[in-house]
């Protein structure tokens, strides 16, 4: 046991003396949360729009004012004819152009019908859709105001309600994803690299010749990464609660428990990789390609799983991060009870057991 302690200390030295790596390990959660939280949001803020308003009457004025005062849009240009629109898009001066029909107010009052054409730059379809949605919503609310002022009921308005995330806050969605990705990175990738490094430098041989039990050697390598993962878990949760304002709606204890389970699965994956590879480069490539990419692409973190082709949906079932992310979304954002995540927990447990058994047997074979 004393030897085990000495050994864990050694592993911490390895990590702490490699300042750059340590900064990355501890800095990654902070940087990612801030990046995803403030820079890479799917929300649209202060987008430049252009207006083509041949009518210039009260109704159009009112709508334009609403657009300009909303936090989503900045009116960047006014155009006088249709020829000016294309250059605006080409130069990226505007992402959306709002074109009012002629005699807008008159038409609206007399025939109860007036037209607005929304032209969006759809090179980025997601942004374009969001812009259109926002603009439509603003026009609709302007319309409603006018109805109440004139007392003429001429339109049906639709109402949209967003569940769980009333402000359509992007942060809610990515926090579980970032958590999954960071834990996977540190547990699987860093652990496997650390173990393979000893094989590469030849120190592993010396350790195996020593009376230290091989399983203890490996466990000692895993412990520091487990600790760092816990620190990162705390960082991510604290940042998301206090900086991004994402609440922990459910049971915090349960959330931590599920995260621990996922950390365990990832560590086991790291062990598996380390027993399959001989060089740090290979370990990095395998964990990068086989673990990190699927976490980003197939876990539902960036792209909804429901809209994937069926084979990819099946494949996504094999990714531990998918189940972790579902469980965290339920526990953290929806605030569901234990019963709602039993399935996810069970799947993660099974994965953990299988991976541990496979990697331990591989490890044993290596020694023979």
């Amino acid at each position: 046991m004393k030897q085990f302690g000495t050994f864990i200390k050694k592993e911490f030295y390895h990590i702490f003396r490699d300042k750059r790596t340590m900064m990355i390990l501890l800095g990654i959660p902070i940087i990612q949360i801030i990046l995803f939280g403030f820079a890479i949001t799917t929300e649209v803020k202060n987008s430049n729009i252009a207006i083509w308003d041949p009518s210039k009457d009260n109704a159009t004025r009112a709508i334009i004012d609403r657009m300009a005062t909303s936090k989503y849009f900045d009116v960047a240009a006014y155009v006088e004819n249709s020829d000016e629109i294309t250059p605006l898009f080409r130069k990226g001066k505007a992402g959306l152009v709002i074109c009012f029909s002629e005699r807008f107010n008159e038409n609206l009052l007399h025939s109860g019908k007036a037209q607005v054409l929304l032209i969006a730059d759809a090179t980025d379809p997601n942004t374009a859709t969001t812009l259109i949605n926002y603009a439509t919503a603003i026009i609709a609310s302007g319309q409603q105001d006018m109805i109440s002022q004139t007392n003429i009921p001429f339109r049906i308005t639709t109402e949209t309600k967003f569940l769980y995330n009333p402000q359509m806050n992007g942060a809610y969605n990515f926090v579980p994803g970032v958590l999954g990705m960071i834990l996977m990175l540190i547990c699987a990738m860093m652990t496997s690299i650390a173990i393979v490094r000893e094989k590469e430098t030849g120190t592993m041989e010396v350790l195996l010749v020593s009376p230290m039990k091989p399983i203890l050697i490996i466990l000692a390598k895993v412990v520091p990464y487990f600790v760092i993962s816990c620190v990162n878990l705390a960082t991510v949760l604290l940042l998301s609660v206090f900086v991004l304002g994402v609440p922990v709606a459910g049971n915090l204890f349960l959330l931590i428990l599920v995260s621990m389970l996922f950390i365990f699965v990832s560590l086991a994956l790291g062990l598996l990789v380390s027993s399959l590879t001989e060089s740090q480069m290979a370990a990095m490539l395998i964990s990068g390609m086989a673990f990190m990419m699927p976490v980003m692409l197939l876990s539902g973190m960036m792209f909804p799983i429901e809209s994937m082709p069926l084979p990819l949906q099946w494949l996504s079932n094999m990714i531990p991060a998918k189940w972790f992310i579902i469980a965290v979304k339920n526990l953290m954002i929806k605030g569901t009870e234990l019963s709602a995540v039993v399935k996810e927990i069970a799947i993660l447990c099974i994965m953990a057991v299988v991976i541990v058994i496979v990697s331990l047997s591989k490890f044993k074979n290596r020694l023979e």
Binding site: T6, F7, R17, V206, L208, S210
Partner: protein
């Protein structure tokens, strides 16, 4: 007293016989040179003696323990150092000593006392707090050897310990080896440098998994009518059918 005994040891990997019926004995305090071209089976044999792999057939013992049945006891009684291994580069000199001594169960007090002693003897006192990566290769090797015998093992296995080291440092390294044998430590060493083979009490030369010659360097030279061990080695190694790795 026999410290290492091998009786018809065989190690097979599938169809490939890496070690083919080797038999020999090593006395306590002896320096035993274990030579052979790359791929002759030296490493495989050494792994068996270190308790890392079990022989397919045959009997062997190290420090009185059977290599198939008591590998854990063997591991506690031996020291090991290889060319590739030069301690942990990102640990300080004393941290390396403490780590390895700790692994072999040396008590804290003993570690403290012996560390001072060791650093003094090697003239390393000023380097106690130096990271191993900042030491010259020769120093690293000397330190690595001292660490490998820190816990007073019965046998120390040296796998090409002086690879890449200059002749002067190599000479100093061998002085350390002689010092160790005076304490009763048996030295089992593989090397590619034939001048080093001359320093051994007895030398075995492996060809294609078999031990082709085993005697003192002097007798071997006489037997093969050669002026140096280098010549003896080449005469034997030429017989090899197996390709080196």
């Amino acid at each position: 007293m026999k410290v290492i005994e091998a009786d018809n040891l065989v190690k097979r990997f599938g169809d490939f016989t890496a070690v083919d019926r080797i038999s020999f004995e090593v006395e306590q305090g002896e320096i035993f040179g274990f030579l052979g071209a790359n791929g002759a089976g030296k490493t495989t044999a050494m792994r068996m003696f270190c308790g890392l792999s079990k022989p397919t057939s045959g009997i062997g013992s190290v420090a009185g323990f059977d290599i198939s049945k008591k590998p854990e006891n063997i591991k506690r009684s031996i020291g090991y150092m290889s060319q590739k291994f030069s301690l942990y580069n990102d640990l300080k000199v004393w941290e390396n000593i403490r780590l390895f001594a700790g692994i072999y169960g040396v008590s804290k007090n003993e570690i403290a006392i012996k560390t001072d002693e060791l650093l003094k003897r090697l003239n390393f006192e000023s380097e106690r707090e130096t990271l191993v990566k900042d030491l010259p290769l020769g120093w690293k090797q000397k330190l690595a050897f001292s660490v490998s015998i820190f816990h007073n093992p019965k046998v120390v296995f040296l796998d090409e310990p002086t690879g890449g080291v200059d002749p002067v440092t190599r000479r100093q390294f061998w002085e350390l080896i002689y010092e160790a044998t005076l304490k009763g430590i048996t030295v089992f060493v593989t090397t590619h440098y034939m001048d080093e083979a001359e320093y051994c009490n007895r030398v075995s030369i492996m060809v294609d998994g078999r031990i082709e010659a085993l005697d003192s360097p002097k007798n071997l030279k006489q037997q093969y009518n050669a002026v140096s061990m280098d010549e003896v080695f080449h005469q034997l190694a030429r017989k090899a059918v197996r390709k080196s790795e």
